[in-house]
């Protein structure tokens, strides 16, 4: 190593180039031709026009600076991001084959906010996301996310989107001429906000991560914990720790345009309450249970299924708290009003 090479610039530079290229070839170039780097999950489809427009917005606004899109195969992470609901073990964390059309990848390097890889399963509510993007702190107290209300004023441009799809076709995303022709109709009257919400709801959907279906709805079943004070206390805690308040409000009063009240006289958009077992079924099975209950609720409502996360006892506890809360409201409310009147008079 000693000696002459350090007085000969050209051979020295060639040697430096060779040193740099060794690792480059083995760890960067060689993987490009490896089959395990070119896998696709079954049925993987490119994003639709609205979702692609949303992905462009996601890139433009630098969402990737604060949100990752890979659920790692770590136990706590699989549980946090609801991968444990997937019936196939391989669906529990992010898979290489999900990202075959991602130009570029958007896995990110920092989780200032939560991972979004499975967001389409975790929080399937269009309304919640639209309201949250417009004003994050209205739904999540102390959140530090910037507000993106301006996106709702920005109309999508079909011609621009078609140009983007043509470029993606060049790098290997299989958009057809029909796909391009369908763009104007798909984005007519839609805003950047609609696109971003649609993209968010598409995340993680290439793999089935739905909770096990087939919740048996037995409306006659009584709440075994109805009379338990411990269950009410536990239910309140579970309501908080599972983030139920993020949509339904901390006191379950609901939030306008996001999710309904759980303590008023309506249930699933129809006046008149249903028995405890209906609440139990909705928490366990999510919005999919609505037909079995015979009530419409919010169109494409986004109640997620907690059957994989919570034991039956936990769910009954939450129902017990909700019932207690409702009884409390009914009893307190008129009194409260009287007191107000008393003050004014």
């Amino acid at each position: 190593m000693a000696g002459r090479i350090y007085s000969k610039a050209f051979p020295f530079s060639v040697m430096a180039l060779v040193a740099v290229l060794a690792g480059t070839i083995v760890t960067m170039a060689y993987p490009l031709v490896r089959p395990e780097m070119h896998v696709k999950v079954a049925g993987l489809a490119p994003l639709g026009p609205l979702e692609l427009a949303g992905r462009d917005v996601y890139q433009r606004e630098g969402c990737v600076n604060c949100h990752t899109q890979t659920v790692r195969p770590l136990k706590s992470e699989v549980v946090r991001y609801k991968g444990n609901r997937a019936q196939e073990p391989t669906g529990r964390y992010s898979l290489a084959g999900e990202f075959a059309y991602d130009h570029p990848f958007l896995w990110g390097s920092k989780r200032t906010g939560p991972d979004l890889a499975f967001e389409g399963w975790i929080k399937p509510s269009r309304d919640w996301h639209a309201a949250h993007y417009a004003d994050p702190r209205a739904l999540v107290a102390r959140s530090n996310m910037p507000a993106y209300a301006f996106l709702a004023k920005e109309q999508l441009d079909a011609a621009e989107l078609q140009a983007h799809m043509r470029a993606l076709r060049k790098v290997g995303v299989p958009y057809t001429d029909e796909d391009l022709a369908a763009v104007p109709a798909a984005v007519a009257g839609k805003t950047a906000m609609d696109g971003l919400v649609a993209y968010t709801l598409s995340l993680g959907k290439a793999v089935n991560r739905a909770a096990p279906g087939g919740i048996d709805v037995e409306l006659d079943a009584p709440n075994p914990l109805a009379a338990s004070v411990e269950a009410v206390v536990k239910g309140k805690a579970l309501f908080e720790t599972n983030g139920c308040g993020a949509c339904h409000g901390d006191e379950a009063h609901g939030q306008e345009g996001v999710a309904p009240s759980l303590v008023d006289g309506e249930f699933l958009g129809v006046a008149g309450d249903l028995p405890d077992a209906a609440y139990f079924a909705m928490i366990k099975g999510g919005s999919d249970v609505k037909p079995a209950l015979g009530r419409p609720g919010v169109p494409d409502g986004g109640m997620q299924a907690y059957g994989a996360d919570l034991s039956d006892e936990d769910v009954w506890s939450i129902v017990a708290w909700l019932r207690n809360q409702k009884a409390h409201e009914a009893a307190e409310h008129p009194e409260h009003e009287d007191a107000e009147h008393g003050k004014k008079e």
Binding site: M1, Y6, S7, A9, F10, F12, S13, A16, A19, V20, A22, G23, T24, M28, P31, L32, R34, E36, M37, D56, Q59, R60, E61, G62, C63, V64, N65, T68, T70, S76, V79, A96, F99, A100, H103, P104, F105, W107, S109, K110, R111, T112, G113, P114, R137, A141, R142, S143, N144, P146, A147, F150, H164, A167, L168, K170, V171, T241, N242, D309
Partner: protein, 474 residues
């Protein structure tokens, strides 16, 4: 000596440009540090955290970092080749193009034009401008070295050559994309390939922007400032070749536990651990060099910048490989630990050594002394305190949040199910980070003042020496 006058003005131009973009980048860093705990400080759409973070990183890596690297590399190349630049006017054109490029880069990032690849955010028209800039730099470096008047090439020249070659390869490959309009493009690679190519680039941008050119400065300016010869030439040879060989294998340690195939991750982790050896080769060489006469720490104000700089480099290159280990990565990856790590390298190692090199160069352009050693000392201590407060705060909160994400009870359920529970605990640490940033910024303003006053003093001396009446201030 007059042969050098034009080139020295170019070097000074790069240094002043670097300082200007450095101040801009640091102030934006302060703003985004506030945005993390005060979301009302986001001014949509142009001044939101999502857009400004790239302005901060690009402004400092390319504006401050590469600007200083251009200027100081030219200085080193001229001294070690014992001749002026081969193409002096090309270097001057490069200086102007550099400033126009960085200004447009900042504006385009604020407009939301981004490739979404870290440290390669700039869209394709600016990528082309950067390639042109780098070709100009390469032509002048290689041309001047080819026509050098000193046959033996000193260590610093090796590092400059490696920088020019490696950055060219990295930048060209990772920025391969298909334009979808003048302000938008899509990465040529998809999914796992996009990730692997990006982090091969991303980690080596750290290697060949924040390491090799800074080592070139360290090996040149430390002996110059202290008058002490480098301790071991043989050690610097071993450290050089093993560093430039091993660095390129390590990018995938940024992708531990992602869907990237395990063999690529494992290979990267192994080479990352090996990288401790060449890094510490330079650390040991630096310590033993100053160890020949530790009184230089007192008698020469620049010595402490180099010693602390190489110390942070040493800490950085042990911490980095530790983070690559799977068991550590699963705890601290994606948390604030990582910005803490990065800022020890940039605020501690890069800024310390670059500032000391500039303190050495600027007075020599005018044949004078630094304006104030006292100001330089204040600058040193503020930057040191600011950097330590920044990094230590981020390490603590990173571990704290990482534990909260992982905590499960006996039944395997999460203890902190609501993500916000883990975020709110960051706020006090994020407040402290802003305070650390303010301390660091004030330190850097002392540095800027010192440089500008030295130039003013030098110009006054020149006017006096030429006997001409002082021209009206431009």
């Amino acid at each position: 000596m007059n042969d050098y006058r034009y080139d020295h003005q170019t070097v000074q131009g790069f240094i002043l440009s670097a300082i200007f973009w450095g101040v801009v980048g640091i102030l934006i860093g302060l703003l985004i540090s506030v945005q993390l705990w005060a979301p009302a400080a986001n001014f949509a759409p142009y001044l939101t955290y999502g857009r400004l973070r790239a302005v901060h990183t690009n402004g400092l890596a390319f504006g401050l970092g590469v600007g200083a690297i251009f200027g100081l590399s030219y200085w080193i190349v001229m001294r070690l080749c014992k001749r002026p630049l081969l193409f002096p006017r090309l270097a001057r054109v490069q200086l102007w193009l550099f400033n126009v490029g960085i200004a447009l880069a900042a504006l385009s990032l604020m407009a939301g034009q981004t490739q979404s690849l870290e440290y390669a955010e700039l869209e394709w028209p600016l990528d082309i401008a950067i390639v042109v800039l780098w070709v100009m730099f390469a032509v002048n470096v290689f041309g001047t070295i080819a026509k050098r008047n000193e046959q033996q090439m000193y260590v610093s020249l090796w590092y400059v050559i490696a920088t020019v070659i490696a950055v060219a390869v990295l930048y060209l490959v990772n920025n391969l994309s298909i334009p979808a309009g003048w302000d938008k493009s899509y990465h040529l690679f998809a999914g796992v390939n996009s990730a692997n190519v990006q982090w091969w680039y991303g980690h080596n941008a750290v290697g060949f922007v924040f390491t090799t050119p800074i080592l070139a400065m360290f090996y040149y300016f430390l002996p110059k400032a202290t008058g002490l010869p480098i301790f071991s030439h043989r050690l610097s040879i071993v450290a050089f070749w093993s560093l430039v060989f091993a660095y390129l294998w390590t990018g995938a340690h940024h992708l531990v536990y992602t869907p990237l195939p395990d063999w690529i991750q494992t290979l990267a982790i192994v080479f990352t651990l090996f990288l401790i050896a060449p890094s510490w080769g330079s650390v040991v060489n630096g310590y033993y060099t100053v160890g020949q006469d530790w009184t230089k720490m007192r008698s020469n104000y620049l010595t402490k910048f180099f010693v602390l700089g190489i110390t942070f480099y040493g800490l950085q290159t042990v911490q980095g490989p530790t983070q690559a280990l799977r068991v550590v990565s699963q705890l601290i990856h994606y948390t604030d630990w990582v910005p803490g790590h990065v800022h020890m390298g940039t605020m501690g190692w890069v800024t310390m050594v670059t500032a000391a090199s500039i303190y050495h160069v600027i007075p020599r352009i005018y044949g004078t002394e630094i304006y104030s050693e006292r100001i330089a000392n204040v600058h040193f201590w503020l930057v040191l305190v600011g950097q330590l407060l920044f990094s230590i705060t981020m390490w603590i909160t990173g571990i704290r949040q990482g534990w909260m994400w992982k905590a499960t009870d006996a039944e395997g359920r999460l203890v902190y199910r609501n993500f916000m529970e883990t975020v709110t605990g960051n706020y006090p640490y994020w407040h402290t980070r802003t305070l650390a940033g303010i301390i660091f910024t004030v330190g850097m303003l002392f540095f800027v003042t010192n440089v500008l006053m030295t130039i003013r003093k030098g110009r006054a001396l020149e006017r006096g020496a030429s006997g001409a009446p002082a021209p009206a201030a431009a």
